[in-house]
């Protein structure tokens, strides 16, 4: 007997929020300062508004699609061959994201906490975590997000609330910073922060398409709020000239917290928040890569491919480190990440035109 996997909207929202929120822990506030100067806090607002428009188009397209994921829609649109091409493109994009994330987070944690350990050791710890995630499957990974992410967000809020006494409102002046154009341009570039929302289109069969609106809009609003608050508090703490130079911004903020004599330094809380959040992020991405490969190639079992794919991700991560291009913080990388928003449109538009989901029953999406 097959067991149907399903989960609620809250679980789906937490998965997606974490995929976006995790940017805050790397360099998002710093990038905003670099883009918009003292008006950097406006960029997440612009990005959020733009992504809301993007998502409302997606919702309109999904009306004729039902509870199918991108692979099912691809198959309806262009047959098995198109599905395999799209499957590999999507998996490739996520694989690239996984490799850069693996390298990025390993470096951050080595820099702030495990300075005496070799980078490879930190990467292997991450690899262990993501292998476990894929081994236990989508259902378990999604469910733990529901209670681990709120804990991580509470830790993040504690840090940002802790530095409120040191906020200087003057840091936000001039209001428009370098002018409105950098803000708009930054808003467009930094849509890349939402690129991991591609996972939403693989979550749909698990929570039914009628909830897609709630999941999508709630995800965008919550994560937009977190991005906005992180950037705003960072800019309020540091003048933007200094902000743009600060590596791992939230960690730098945590260093400023002072609660009397006893609690003097709580930046280690950031290490815990960053570890939990990044493990969840990489775990979710890796689990969905395995899910996509399995579905694309119609594999009966996915466990045999977990270890090889994980080792490939580690290898690619090492190769990317050797390259001179910054794939986490550069504008080129922002453009690459936008693929995550473009790919779904390539599949959804013809899918909606063909009314791919009309004859499909609710829930039929190969999620068993």
């Amino acid at each position: 007997m097959k067991t149907r996997i399903s989960f609620g909207t809250w679980e789906a929202i937490t998965v997606l929020v974490n995929l976006i929120f995790v940017q805050v822990l790397l360099s998002y506030p710093q990038d905003m300062a670099a883009f918009g100067g003292s008006a950097g806090w406006m960029i997440p607002v612009v990005s959020t508004l733009l992504i809301l428009i993007y998502f409302s188009i997606i919702v309109a397209l999904y009306k004729n699609i039902g509870s199918m994921d991108l692979l099912d829609i691809s198959q309806k649109v262009g047959g098995k061959v198109f599905m395999v091409i799209m499957g590999f493109l999507t998996a490739g994009f996520l694989f690239f994201e996984l490799s850069t994330g693996l390298g990025g987070f390993s470096q951050v944690l080595k820099m702030i906490s495990l300075d005496k350990s070799p980078l490879g050791f930190v990467e292997i710890l991450f690899l262990l975590g993501i292998i476990c995630c894929a081994y236990f499957g989508i259902e378990a990974v999604v469910r733990i997000n529901a209670f681990l992410l709120p804990a991580a967000i509470v830790g993040f809020l504690l840090i940002t609330i802790g530095v409120i006494p040191q906020f200087k409102i003057n840091n936000l002046l001039p209001i428009l910073g370098n002018g409105y154009m950098p803000v708009v341009r930054g808003g467009l570039y930094k849509l890349s922060a939402f690129s991991s929302m591609i996972i939403l289109f693989f979550l749909v069969p698990f929570f039914k398409s009628r909830y897609i609106k709630r999941v999508g809009y709630m995800t965008i609003l919550i994560s937009g709020l977190l991005l906005f608050w992180a950037t705003l508090s960072f800019l309020l703490l540091y003048p933007y000239q200094i902000s743009a130079e600060n590596k791992v911004p939230v960690f730098q903020m945590a260093k400023h917290i002072e609660f009397g004599n006893f609690i003097q330094r709580i930046e280690s809380v950031f290490v815990l928040v960053c570890s939990i959040s990044s493990l969840l992020y990489l775990g979710v991405i890796f689990t969905f890569i395995i899910h996509i490969i399995k579905k694309t190639l119609s594999l009966k079992k996915s466990r045999p491919i977990i270890l090889p794919v994980a080792i490939l991700a580690l290898t690619l991560s090492d190769k990317l480190k050797g390259m001179k291009i910054d794939l986490v913080n550069s504008r080129l990388s922002d453009l690459i990440w936008l693929v995550g928003l473009g790919l779904p449109l390539v599949i959804l538009i013809p899918g909606a035109l063909k009314k791919a989901g009309r004859r499909i029953e609710e829930g039929g999406g190969g999620n068993e």
Partner: protein, 572 residues
């Protein structure tokens, strides 16, 4: 003369050395595959029947109308007179001026001999001589209706069922000419009385615990529930032991598929013997490797009754003072029956303490190692100096130090449980106080480590479930290693893997982390915290009970005017 024994050689008496030889090969197939009971009479097979046990095929045969043959079969089955506690007796009864031969068999020590004499033998042997004004149309019915004034007696037409009854304190009665036997329930053996619980003590609430008797245990539950819809389905587990079990549920509350699954798993066990519900638990649980228990084992009838009222299923087994309740979720392992009996503010306070206790028991040593090795900046300067000063003369790294202490603590706990009561507490004092103090004086461990281990132990004692406490003690070591390996990243990795394992496991189809992962939308209000008792309107929705409502919206009808209250009840 005694002195001469040292001077004169004298050969010692030779003692025969015992050699454990292999059994003589006996072809038991002839006996086991015997198609007919007639083979019992054949002399050629007598040796085979002496050495080979009687197989199930023969036990399933119908009882013969020939008393002599039945006596022969019973004697073969029980190897009478080799079995010293088996009692058999032949007697005569008179029915309608005809003298018939009879035969009883029972196990001494498991039965009430007075009852057998007064209620079985005396009526059959003496009462049968009284002239009863009734025509004897059917001999068996006449004996059943007129000559056996005993309350628990039934007709049995095969040897297997009869032998099962005899093994469980019954008395088998054969009458010549009847192709069935009577099985009288005369069980009576030495047993422990109902006493107070040992491992689940409460201040507020009943002070009764289960004992080793199946019927006493089911009665304790029925006494509390007093519900006509409480079902007590009987079955046996163990191919040889035929240990009686009872599966309890409330038929208009418990989910049907859940009931069927429990019955399917219990009846699907193929073992020779089963001695305790601890074994049964391991045989029916979903995941063997998972550290956390997936079935609640309790010695409290009130806890079982409460969970049955929610829609859970219970399994009682003869010989075990612990009853299994399933399915179980993580929150239920943190609840006690006292939680229901004490007031709403107190219970929530105590549950917060308990959750903190669990977190301490699980994470404190690992966090301490992570902080002292990787994140020293977290420690306030004065405290850091104090810790460093206390560790100055300790030769081991802190991770070795804590592993030694944790291991010693587990050793003391294990030793304290295994030795008799009075010495057990002495070991606790010796181990905990004297050994700890001596270890600090000898600079083997630092005082701060003693404090950490002691607080961790207190945290683990606050966990109500013995099995869950075990699980946390076990996982704690993994967190220590992870904390020592990679600081907070290691701890986060541990939390991730631990959460994944729990999120992926189920107890009888119910996700173990319910109601948090998945989050359930029902109005069940006894999760980590508890709402006031009058607001607990629903049963747990994750059990999919037939009747989700446990009380109306207004359960305290005295708070509203009479007419409104009546309206509300009608609505419900």
């Amino acid at each position: 003369m005694g002195f001469l024994n040292y001077l004169i050689f004298k050969e010692h008496n030779k003692t025969e050395e015992f050699v454990l030889r292999e059994n003589k090969r006996r072809d038991c197939d002839t006996v086991h595959n015997a198609a007919s009971l007639d083979v019992f009479e054949k002399e050629a097979l007598e040796d085979d029947f002496t050495d080979c046990t009687v197989s199930d095929e023969i036990l399933k045969k119908k009882i013969s109308g020939d008393l002599g043959f039945n006596i022969n079969v019973i004697k073969k089955i029980y190897k009478i007179p080799g079995n010293s506690d088996l009692v058999s007796r032949q007697f005569n009864i008179t029915v309608a001026d005809k003298v018939l031969k009879g035969f009883i068999v029972f196990i001494d020590g498991l039965t009430d001999r007075v009852s057998i004499s007064n209620n079985i033998l005396q009526p059959l042997m003496l009462l049968s001589n009284i002239d009863i004004r009734e025509d004897v149309k059917n001999l068996g019915e006449f004996i059943y209706n007129r000559l056996l004034p005993f309350n628990q007696i039934k007709k049995v037409d095969n040897y297997k069922e009869l032998v099962g009854n005899i093994n469980f304190g019954g008395c088998g009665i054969f009458i010549d000419g009847l192709d069935y036997a009577f099985a009288a329930d005369v069980k009576s053996w030495e047993h422990r009385t109902v006493s107070s619980p040992n491992s689940e003590t409460v201040i507020r609430g009943p002070q009764e615990a289960f004992n080793e008797q199946l019927r006493a245990n089911t009665a304790l539950i029925r006494k509390i529930l007093k519900d006509k819809d409480l079902m007590v389905e009987g079955t046996t587990v163990g191919k040889r032991s035929n240990t009686p079990c009872a599966i309890l549920y409330i038929r208009d509350i418990a989910n049907d598929s859940l009931v069927h699954e429990v019955i399917r798993r219990v009846k699907g066990i193929k073992v020779d013997y089963i001695f305790d519900t601890g074994e049964l638990e391991q045989l029916i649980e979903d995941n063997t490797v998972l550290a956390a228990p997936q079935i609640i084992a309790t010695e409290r009838p009130d806890r079982v009754a409460m969970m049955l009222a929610q829609g859970n299923i219970a399994v009682v087994m003869d010989g075990s003072p612990f009853v299994l309740v399933m399915p179980a979720t993580i929150t239920e392992f943190l609840h006690t029956t006292e939680d229901t009996n004490i007031r709403y503010p107190y219970v929530n306070f105590i549950r917060i303490i308990r959750i903190i206790g669990v977190l301490i028991a699980l994470l404190l040593p690992g966090l301490y190692i992570a902080v002292t090795n990787f994140h020293q900046e977290m420690i306030p300067t004065n405290l850091l100096f104090a810790i460093e000063a206390s560790r100055e003369n300790v030769p081991f790294p802190s991770v070795v130090e804590i592993l030694i202490m944790e291991f010693s603590f587990e050793l003391i706990r294990e030793a304290g449980i295994r030795v008799p009561g009075a010495i057990g507490s002495t070991i606790g004092i010796v181990g905990g106080l004297i050994l700890g103090q001596a270890a600090v004086s000898a600079n083997l461990v630092s005082p701060i480590m003693i404090i950490i281990v002691a607080i961790t132990a207190l945290g683990s004692f606050s966990i109500p479930s013995f099995s869950m406490s075990f699980s946390i003690r076990l996982i704690r070591f993994a967190y220590i290693i992870l904390g020592a390996t990679a600081g907070f990243l290691g701890i986060a990795l541990g939390l991730l893997v631990n959460s994944l394992m729990l999120a992926a496991s189920k107890s009888f189809g119910v996700p173990f982390l319910t109601p948090f992962g998945p989050i359930t939308n029902g109005k069940y209000s006894d999760k980590l915290s508890r709402k006031p008792i009058w607001k607990q309107e629903n049963r747990p929705d994750y059990l999919n009970p037939k009747d989700i409502k446990s009380q109306p919206r207004i359960s305290r009808s005295w708070t509203v005017k009479n007419n409104e209250s009546e309206g509300d009840e009608d609505e419900d």
